[in-house]
């Protein structure tokens, strides 16, 4: 709840002291930030009767001086230019400006200069600069996410933009929580180090006054890690509800777009999947596919009962009761059709792409041993006609990540087979990925085969057997969280920034994955928080990945790297 309620509190405070009819003006980023936590009907209750984007509002010329304008923007230079133009010819009666992050002095000067008519009543910084998808999971929706894979020399200015946005987002999280953390980062990742250092500089030197909060006994921890330390999780197919919907269809800002998928009825073309507003989703978002099916069936049966009782209307009393319950009935109907259409769509995809078969091999590649068996399984699936190109690519990547060093000959065979069978496959992508995230580049013990303790644990788990073959994979994040809980996060692998040192366990931990998080990891975090071990984890990333997005980032990075080497 903590992230969602923080952003909601900010929005409430923006609107509560301003009376009368208001218009809320947002930019393309803050629209996402506000939309995931606040609904249109809640805005109407607060007398906000119009919502506009800051770039489209300049096209219209009607003056509406009976409205008070509330601007909530990111403090970027484009937004400041928009503000300049709009303040020069004001359309509304009053202007209240809220920025989602720190304003530079020059920007404040520009705003003050353009406010000739003195319509601006207040300028405040409200640090809601992140998209709170779930109570303990946030994202920054950075478009050019792939920049993190490239060395700084390739495109220094874009990389600087990326880092700035990340630092802004992390700073906003801590300002919203009113904490100043101790910063640790993953040693092997340059970009994680850079971001950690810049964040620390901001919090301890540049704006140390702003971040000077009441200190708790043990400071909270910010851990900045790199996606490439665990490239397996985004490549895997998922079988728990939220992660599966994102993997097979795609969730953006808690919305699912069903327009391109088959034929859906008009009001089901875009649906909202929010754990705050949908009780069924909240109860089932981390359940696996089989259980979801049963729960949905139960929900449909309940609904049919209600519908049947609504059919038999005989007395006036029945009629009155029907009219009374109609809003509830309509809401229930909408909810049931939403979940039924999602699950139908996913079942269809699972059938078409033979995902049960593919996923079994994927999970074995990710979890168990047996190189020979793995090679055979992958070869069989590559030969299988009904397996799609993207699934073939993922299988080869997973195999390569695991058995990179063990038998290069067989690996080459797989590469060749992949290239010959998948026409759209861009050659060298798997090799590029190995260069980025190969075993030499990784810090964490991804397969549990680095130290004896982990090997023993793996063997024990193997002997015990797993409950469900399809959900046996635990992301690396789970082990990291366990180490933090036990206070055993190694300084060698995850050094501190500056000379802060932490004794004992922190009570709040924010883990930021540069390159993006996955819903499987956010599920891990939510389940860990539910255990109540005394530590509260919050997870965030530059985007929320699924396998398509991760592969796209790899392709974009490869293309940019190649074009830059061509130039050089």
């Amino acid at each position: 709840m903590v992230l969602i309620s923080a952003v909601r509190d900010y929005v409430n405070r923006m609107l509560q002291d301003i009376s009368g009819m208001k218009v809320l003006i947002l930019d393309s980023q803050t629209v996402s930030i506000v939309s995931v936590v606040y609904s249109q009907s809640e805005l109407l209750q607060k007398e906000v009767f119009l919502v506009e984007l800051v770039d489209s509002i300049s096209k219209s010329k009607e003056p509406m001086s009976h409205l008070k304008a509330v601007y909530f923007l990111r403090p970027t230079s484009e937004n400041i230019q928009h503000m300049r133009r709009q303040l020069a010819s004001p359309r509304f009666g009053e202007y209240h400006l809220f920025f989602s992050n720190l304003l530079k002095d020059t920007q404040l000067h520009i705003l003050a200069d353009s406010d000739e008519h003195e319509v601006v009543q207040q300028v405040q910084e409200f640090y809601a600069d992140f998209v709170a998808n779930d109570p303990y999971h946030f994202s920054l929706n950075i478009p050019s996410n792939y920049m993190y894979m490239l060395p700084a020399v390739v495109d220094p200015s874009n990389l600087q933009h990326f880092c700035d946005r990340v630092v802004d987002g992390i700073a906003a999280i801590f300002l919203a929580l009113k904490r100043r953390p101790v910063v640790r980062y993953q040693r092997t990742s340059d970009i994680a180090k850079r971001i950690a250092q810049e964040t620390s500089k901001l919090m301890y030197q540049q704006e140390s006054g702003l971040f000077d909060f009441r200190r708790t006994e043990v400071s909270p921890l910010l851990l900045v890690i790199d996606r490439r330390d665990d490239p397996v999780t985004p490549l895997l197919n998922q079988w728990t509800y939220q992660a599966m919907v994102h993997e097979l269809i795609g969730i953006q800002d808690n919305k699912v777009d069903l327009r391109n998928i088959g034929k859906t009825s008009k009001d089901q073309q875009e649906v909202v999947l929010s754990s705050e507003q949908d009780a069924f989703f909240k109860a089932n978002m981390y359940e696996n596919f089989g259980d979801i099916g049963m729960n949905i069936k139960r929900m449909v049966d309940e609904f049919q009962q209600v519908a049947k009782s609504n059919q038999s209307i005989q007395t006036i009393e029945d009629m009155a009761k029907f009219v009374d319950n109609y809003p509830e009935y309509r809401k229930m109907h909408g909810n049931v059709s939403k979940h039924v259409s999602l699950v139908t769509e996913m079942s269809k995809t699972v059938e078409e792409r033979k995902l049960m078969l593919v996923s079994q091999t994927e999970q074995e590649l990710a979890c168990n041993g047996g190189q020979g068996a793995a090679f055979e399984a992958v070869t069989n699936l590559l030969n299988n006609e009904s397996v799609s190109d993207i699934d073939r690519l993922r299988l080869v990547m997973l195999y390569a990540l695991r058995y990179e060093k063990e038998s290069p000959v067989q690996l080459m065979q797989l590469f060749n087979k992949l290239a010959s069978q998948s026409p759209k496959y861009k050659p060298g992508l798997v090799q590029f990925m190995l260069k980025q995230a190969g075993v030499d580049k990784r810090t964490g013990d991804l397969y549990g085969n680095r130290d004896l303790l982990n090997i023993a644990l793996n063997m024990a788990r193997g002997l015990k057997g797993v409950e469900n073959v399809y959900t046996q994979h635990q992301p690396l994040l789970f082990q990291t969280m366990e180490s933090i809980t036990k206070g055993r996060l190694r300084d060698v692998d995850y050094p501190y920034v500056g000379n802060h040192f932490q004794q004992g366990r922190p009570q709040e931990v924010v883990i930021f994955i540069v390159g993006g998080t996955t819903y499987e990891e956010s599920r891990s975090v939510a389940l860990q928080n539910a255990i109540n071990s005394g530590i509260r984890f919050i997870l965030g990333g530059s985007v929320v990945l699924n396998s398509k997005r991760f592969l796209k980032d790899l392709e974009d990075a490869q293309r940019t790297a190649r074009s830059s080497t061509n130039l050089v």
Binding site: Y10, E62, M64, S65, E118, V272, Q277, A320
Partner: protein, 371 residues
């Protein structure tokens, strides 16, 4: 959660820059003097701004500036009227609840005033709701514009309030109805029972006094019948008002947003607004250009017989050539406006259309007078 107020700093910069821009002291409140004095007076003019970093100030107090807060458009009055009605309705609902409770309590006497009171209150509330709902329909604007989106949202918000009130009223009425029915069984049942008992006992004891006792019983029966009839009437009335409310709710439910659906998302609504406003303007301009072309055809065909009579008058020859030019000018303007997508273009076209119609009317009148 931390926030930072930059308003003080902003005002300081604004005043400093303003004095740099207009160093001869253009603001009326400053005394004669250079920029230094002006800076001092302008900072003194805001003595009540607090310096607490988390303060939220009352923004309504200061509105000095070149932009005067304009009068809101007429529909705002309608929306305010409806909002005032909603405010009036709430205490009335509380009163109604009290009256219901009082009427249901067992009391001596007829309880007729209670019934009247309940009826009157219910009527008042229902009529207020109906009136508000009718006014609400007026808020729907014709034609897309930013203003229309605003009106739609105001409409939605008021519709939600009205719907909640009518749901509350219905619930209250149905519980009252239920309890009333229970009560109706109660006293009648007891009465009948007593009657029967009285009947049998009396019958057993005194068979001779049939006339007297049957009169007594008849009176009792009549009384209970009257009582029953009255209760029936009340129930009928309540049912009628329930049906009325159901109708209102049906109308309102079209306007209200379903919570938790995609329609309730801010980003979805922003996307839709942007597309509809553009499309609406295009449609309007298409219609206008079509209208102009039709008019020009009409003028041509209607003017030919006129042209024969035209030679008699001096005025006609001039106008008959003037008119088609006007038509074509109008069409040209419409097409230009379509290309540049200016608001002003459509307004101009509409005014030209009106002028041309009026001139045509004048022409016809003149023709009648002179021929």
């Amino acid at each position: 959660m931390a926030t930072r107020n930059r308003t003080i700093l902003f005002r300081k910069y604004r005043d400093a820059l303003k004095s740099v821009r207009a160093p001869t002291g253009s603001s009326p409140s400053s005394s004669s003097g250079g920029p230094v004095i002006e800076l001092a007076t302008s900072s003194l003019l805001h003595p009540n701004r607090s310096y607490a970093p988390l303060s939220t100030e009352d923004p309504g107090s200061s509105s000095r500036g070149a932009l005067t807060v304009g009068l809101p458009p007429a529909w705002v009055d309608v929306s305010e009227e409806i909002a005032a009605n909603v405010q009036r309705l709430r205490p009335k609902m509380v009163e109604l609840a009290k009256a219901h409770a009082k009427a249901l309590m067992p009391s001596f006497g007829d309880g007729k005033e209670d019934q009247h009171r309940i009826e009157a209150l219910t009527q008042e509330i229902t009529s207020l709701l109906k009136k508000s709902e009718k006014r609400l329909q007026k808020l729907s604007a014709g034609g897309p514009s930013e203003d229309s989106n605003l009106r739609k949202n105001v409409q939605r918000s008021l519709a939600t309030d009205l719907q909640n009130l009518s749901i509350e009223l219905r619930k209250k009425q149905s519980t009252y109805l239920k309890r009333l029915r229970l009560q109706k069984e109660g006293p009648d049942g007891v009465d009948l029972e007593m009657n029967l008992k009285g009947n049998t006992s009396r019958m057993e004891d005194e068979d001779l006094d049939d006339l007297g006792f049957s009169e007594h019983q008849m009176a009792k029966l009549k009384k209970s019948e009257a009582f029953t009839a009255e209760r029936e009437r009340e129930i009928q009335q309540v049912v009628e008002s329930v049906n009325e409310l159901a109708q209102i709710m049906k109308d309102l439910s079209v306007l209200v947003i379903d919570q938790g659906t995609i329609v309730d998302r801010i980003d979805y609504n922003i996307q839709n607004v942007a597309t509809t406003v553009e499309e609406g303007l295009k449609q309007l301009q298409k219609v206008l250009s079509l209208l102009f072309s039709l008019l020009s055809c009409f003028f041509f065909f209607s003017l030919f017989p006129f042209l024969k009579f035209c030679f008699k008058l001096i005025v006609h020859p001039l106008l008959s050539s003037f008119f088609p030019c006007l038509c074509y000018a109008g069409m040209y303007w419409t097409q230009q406006a379509e290309k540049t997508q200016k608001h002003g273009g459509t307004v101009m076209c509409a005014s030209v259309l009106v002028i041309m119609c009026s001139i045509m009317l004048v022409l016809l009148i003149l023709k009648e007078i002179f021929l």
